[in-house]
Point group: C2
Chain length 85, copies 2
Amino acid sequence: MKESLKIFKALCDETRLKIVEFLLDGEKCVCKIVPHTKRTQSTVSIQLAKLENLGVVESERQGKSVYYKLTNPKVKKILKIVKSD
Amino acid sequence: MKESLKIFKALCDETRLKIVEFLLDGEKCVCKIVPHTKRTQSTVSIQLAKLENLGVVESERQGKSVYYKLTNPKVKKILKIVKSD
DNA sequence: TATACATATGGATAATTATTAATATATATA
DNA sequence: TATATATATTAATAATTATCCATATGTATA
């Protein structure tokens, strides 16, 4: 799939967009992401996997927890633009 | 719906993304857009209506033809970013 | 007014997607 | 090793979406 399409598919769902925006200010543990999205843990886990497959985030296990962070610099720029006036 | 989500929903489909990229260099008649997308006329018409509802394009009838153009400046900026290296 | 042309809409279908409950897996610790 | 905690996966379902064919609508022109 084209890289640009991957980015837009990553961001076109409310749950995923909320996750990505939450990650804008640094990496977060899944246990923090779940309550922030108001979705079940399994839903969040699936959407995180989708974001990772689309090349937008990366995960890293630290002990019992898994941390996700934004890795795509274009996504950061795009989110700045859409949030600007 | 949030404006940012509208923009990403507009761009997350292959047909719509192709249309929007095609409109980057100026307004186009539906009769030019259809062959460019390799979809049927009805499919293109539906996707154009969706783009219009999402606030990304505007249409204007000129005689028998209808012309569509990009109207959202954020979309133009975003497309520049995703196409950059 | 009749016809041709351009675009939109309705209805049907297939495909994709988001969500959840239940369960599995992985890790840490008692 | 047994238990608790954190996350991922499976299976089922509901919802949304993209597509197409057929037809309707709107416009121009003979």
